[in-house]
Symmetry: D2
Amino acid sequence: MNKKIKAGIIGSTGYAGGELARLLLQRDDVEIVWYGSKSYADQKYGSIYQNMYQMTDAVCGNEDMEALADMADVVFTATPQGLCASLVSESVLSRTKIIDLSADFRIKDVEVYQAWYKIQHPSADFIKEAVYGLPELNRESIKQARLVANPGCYPTCSILTVYPLVKEGLIDPDTLIIDAKSGVSGAGRGAKVDNLYCEVNESCKAYGVASHRHTPEIEEQLSYGAGRPVTISFTPHLIPMNRGILVTAYASLKKDVSDADIREVYHAYYDKETFVRVLPEGVCPQTRWVEGSNYVDVNFKIDPRTRRAVLMGAMDNLMKGAAGQAVQNMNLLFGLPENTGLKQIPLFP
Amino acid sequence: MNKKIKAGIIGSTGYAGGELARLLLQRDDVEIVWYGSKSYADQKYGSIYQNMYQMTDAVCGNEDMEALADMADVVFTATPQGLCASLVSESVLSRTKIIDLSADFRIKDVEVYQAWYKIQHPSADFIKEAVYGLPELNRESIKQARLVANPGCYPTCSILTVYPLVKEGLIDPDTLIIDAKSGVSGAGRGAKVDNLYCEVNESCKAYGVASHRHTPEIEEQLSYGAGRPVTISFTPHLIPMNRGILVTAYASLKKDVSDADIREVYHAYYDKETFVRVLPEGVCPQTRWVEGSNYVDVNFKIDPRTRRAVLMGAMDNLMKGAAGQAVQNMNLLFGLPENTGLKQIPLFP
Amino acid sequence: MNKKIKAGIIGSTGYAGGELARLLLQRDDVEIVWYGSKSYADQKYGSIYQNMYQMTDAVCGNEDMEALADMADVVFTATPQGLCASLVSESVLSRTKIIDLSADFRIKDVEVYQAWYKIQHPSADFIKEAVYGLPELNRESIKQARLVANPGCYPTCSILTVYPLVKEGLIDPDTLIIDAKSGVSGAGRGAKVDNLYCEVNESCKAYGVASHRHTPEIEEQLSYGAGRPVTISFTPHLIPMNRGILVTAYASLKKDVSDADIREVYHAYYDKETFVRVLPEGVCPQTRWVEGSNYVDVNFKIDPRTRRAVLMGAMDNLMKGAAGQAVQNMNLLFGLPENTGLKQIPLFP
Amino acid sequence: MNKKIKAGIIGSTGYAGGELARLLLQRDDVEIVWYGSKSYADQKYGSIYQNMYQMTDAVCGNEDMEALADMADVVFTATPQGLCASLVSESVLSRTKIIDLSADFRIKDVEVYQAWYKIQHPSADFIKEAVYGLPELNRESIKQARLVANPGCYPTCSILTVYPLVKEGLIDPDTLIIDAKSGVSGAGRGAKVDNLYCEVNESCKAYGVASHRHTPEIEEQLSYGAGRPVTISFTPHLIPMNRGILVTAYASLKKDVSDADIREVYHAYYDKETFVRVLPEGVCPQTRWVEGSNYVDVNFKIDPRTRRAVLMGAMDNLMKGAAGQAVQNMNLLFGLPENTGLKQIPLFP
């Protein structure tokens, strides 16, 4: 067997970090050399995430990127906005690869980043180099990258659902409205009243209306597809379930576009993709059918009365929306088959 | 004390029927004289809905509208489409009032009804007479009615959220997209695999895309507001919770319409309404804050980048979306204060 | 109409405090004169509990028992252990009545209190005077009380399920094991990781095994019934639901005790009680049938093979287990019918 | 690579059957040659369990054990009681191995089986040959078996939690009370009102009190440990979650038994076991930490006041409680490492 890939995780005790650890611990070809955590420093990882009890004896350390750059072949940063950007440097990138699960390097226009995230970007010089880590769009660039900006959960599901139709000119991007629904793990593991069981259970709400930070990220990628700036409406909703994102997108069809045209484009883009499943006609994506896996299920329905297309995508926000996609990117960085360690069949029920 | 109102319920063992019984049993001025149920005939009502154990000794009977017309001052039909229409007659309506919770008399154009519901209407002559039982729009007509078509759950929430802005010309109705989310009680109490706990829990899906039967009902009422035919996109979603509907509606603003304009219209329409609460700026409606009550909470946000308004409404689908509204209509029919028996404060958590 | 009862709530923004406000706001004969809250001082109550939006304009105040004693006819303390005990005094009790929802005055033996709660009791002199506010056991004493110790949630459900059989000598109290299951609202509204949606949902656990503080409270009351000290096993479990407690109790039958004997005793104790329902033979209590109401449903099954009785009780922890019972006690203190403001039929589904 | 194991599944569209398919489809060394289903015959398997869409093109067939015996190296029967017993024969067993997930061959005393299951056993001759498939107890016999009786979900969790202490004489088996809590998938995928989302959600109940069919199965295995007949109290409860069983067992300690004694026995029995994790002192098992895996987490607490031990076990009912254990048994039958295809780390959240 080859040498194992040495992986470090900064922010290993959030939900995305925990999912990363779970995925990597199941692999024979990867060794986790660092479980970083500010909140749980010096505690045993297996006592925090007891699902991994007996699978690791590791104790959480703090966030020393310098030390980590020497120890690890790849560092995952599953941390709040701004942290990865404050740790990256030429010296670090010359020694290790970084897959950043935060938003720090996702948006090419630093002004846009700063306007939506309300923070000063401490290392804007590296934005240009960073590759947006959506393999279905940027596979070849990812393979060459030192710094991968792992996409947000809503953007991953939204872009994979909508991009092919924008790119191929089947829908009018100016009419695009994305109504997204997410499970609660997307809100993170911080102790907030709003995320208590009794506050979320038996309820449904929109949040971040007309102001959610994933909006410009979606718009940027769709703009590349459209070949011109695209502005969308994006509304996320909180749903009482642990995992899962469902995207329902609405857009006016371009003249004469038919059901068959859309189906053909979806298949052209995704039949070769391991992790995107185009569902049969009439079958709506449901988050239960992708839970615990790296799949995105997509489908659509044309409303002939309004000449709009309703595009739908379902995904596990912690897998393809965070840790699964990060592992997919790691596989690309290290020349491995893209689905290594990602063959989990969705868990149902 | 005056004579009690004698009420009969046909379809008393579905969720809407059960909610009706719960509401009426708490009143001193109403007596339930008939608990109709095809599925549970001859069984004690309090053994089926054990929440009402010891509150009634009644045994379920079947659906004899003729007999009921003599016994009851008002008959609620909480039954599948087509049943009420098959039971109504001049003779029945001359003896009792009917509040129909099915769709049979909601849509004025019988062709539209038959096209969407795929059934022949057996008593189309009464459609004209029937009053659409949304008190906030039709209060005065309801008071005079013999036959009230109690609105559907999605239409109630959608219309109350959207109608004022359509009527006052603040939004372009041709751009209207309604993305709705519903708890599972809306799917009824029939024993279907799709509604089993494990099939619904931890999942989210769209259904009836571009084909849901509540679409023409919403369109008809909005058309009255617009003064011309309105065609909308409507997509319902199933959410893992018992009760609650959340409507998120999107529409392009008419020229120069401001935040203040919309707020003013909402307040003009609803400040005098008992059951519609316009929330303070920046507060999104959540289904948890209306559960178990007859309230609809509405609010909105303008997206200045797209010049669209995002309109939101939250409601309990079994209360204002079904039984609560039916009781509100009954109150109007009998000249009672509209909120009689409907003063429940939402239950939280 | 008579003068309204003026009620103050200290700790009005916890779940029990919110439930109290909800119950009292629905009454014509009570006025809430004080919404105390340390965490939300100076915020509008209706912005914290938005279910009560537009029903009160009150702003939360802090915990000034002295001032409150002059303003209020009754003060509810829905606060952490130790607080009420630190505020009570002869001067206060000479001016107002106190219904304490904490454990401070539930246990007569101050040593036991201090051992289980690990705090020094600051006003042990008042323990003797306090009346344990379980109306089904202590109705007459409650009517005369100045200080009512409102029972804990687990104790209420456990005692009402088990007490009659202990008192009548049908079961051997030394064999008594109580396995209880509670919804998450029992854990309070504090922002703790353990109570986050994703930590509780899709899981089940025991906690406080052989050490839960409600144990001595249950034991004390059962000891009165047995006429000698009773020691029990008590294990609470956390269940992914908002409300509800289910108690499953096991005890060996005394010689020759039959099914009919137990049924007879239950009916003798509870047929005259408004809030305890003895279910028909073979029907197990379920929390869904009592949610949102002040009812406790009880039943039992004898296992002839082991000669043990399995006793079961179901209750809403925020109603009969906290706020509902507090209101029941208030009704007794003020000479009102015991079910005033407590006639809610359980909400289902 | 060696020849693949050819596996047939009768009853592949129930939840246990679906989990079996999911586990086996992820393996390179197994081929599923038959997806049996009475309810969904002739439908594509991937259209029923859409989590497996695109992973198999198989169409469901019916239950032809004769044909299957020729095609398959091993047949799993995940079917209602009585079916496997009606299909087994010497001819079949001479050609294939059977792992029966029903109760038909779990209980050695056919009278007991018939009394609890209320059906005549059609092939009692094979009961003696059948091996009770709990590898932690019967590993060596399983390896040699033709017919494996895969244990029930409650028995698996109960026995693994309790057996070592019974066998080593640390607890008095006559005092044993098992209070179990299960997720809803244990109730199967049949379309019953009782298992609808709205009936189960936000509720908790005991069922099958003093009469659940898993009782004699648990008793039989514990009797082997005790060396004499053991009679227990067993009460299952339904919990609103998809997966998971939690067992809380109570028993009086034998004289002088200490905490250390119990811990030592647990470790002696389970330290060498792959799938049983003895948790650290003070840590209670929770179903969330085993979901989606084949692990059983066990621990205990001694109550010094009552001299009872509280024993706790948590498990995924579809994995170690059904399909996972069946695969573990298959591995033993075919001489494979016991954890082949069962290395999934529990999914959280």
